[in-house]
Symmetry: C2
Subunit: 119 residues, 2 copies
């Protein structure tokens, strides 16, 4: 179930590398990578899980409302994160020349399915 959703997000995003459904504790429920990924998305997500927790906490302190989405662009990659529940997020990595907008749209489109599967 989770795997087929992640599969769809990655494969339908031009430049998509991989997607992972993970808890803020850095433990992943499910992940899917393109065979030629060239990037350990799981390691990336673990490294960023803690930072996401801090962003979330800061948003609460500052009364910005609940965190919904975080994106990070580096010279080589895009990392797109969508918050699922208080405990889980889904992260998608794309090549730097990938379609950021399409990835964002797909994360939003599949968020409902992932939430249902998590419930």
């Amino acid at each position: 179930m989770f795997n087929s959703i992640l599969h769809r997000i990655v494969d339908e995003t031009p430049g998509g590398i991989g997607a992972v459904l993970m808890g803020y504790d850095g433990i992943s429920i499910e992940q899917y990578f393109r065979p030629d990924a060239g990037l350990d998305l799981n390691l990336v997500a673990v490294e960023y899980a803690n930072i996401l927790k801090e962003i979330k906490k800061a948003a609460e302190i500052l009364h910005l409302g609940g965190m919904e989405e975080v994106s990070i662009r580096t010279e080589r990659f895009y990392l797109l994160v969508r918050i699922m529940t208080d405990d889980y997020f889904v992260a998608l990595t794309l090549q730097g020349d990938g379609n950021f907008g399409k990835g964002r749209y797909l994360l939003l489109r599949e968020a409902g399915n992932l939430k249902e599967a998590l419930a």
Copy 2:
């Protein structure tokens, strides 16, 4: 100089609230807010400056290449950050129904001018 650039970014972005040019140490060089901002962007930027430093460090550890852009969407706001130099970033806040794409474009368009002014 800095002020007129920040002014331009905020005023040309539909839903733009304010912009700040800040160091990772949380000390701002310049800032501009719409009079009716309803959000202390300076406080937001200070709170997030340290988190940005951690995102940057993680990107280096993971060999993702230099950090270029970070965006955070909450229920009520968008926070868009563009990295200027190793020491400074510019942050723009928009209303949640503001034009994210236009803000991103303007930050990119004015990045050269800000870097020149910083040099």
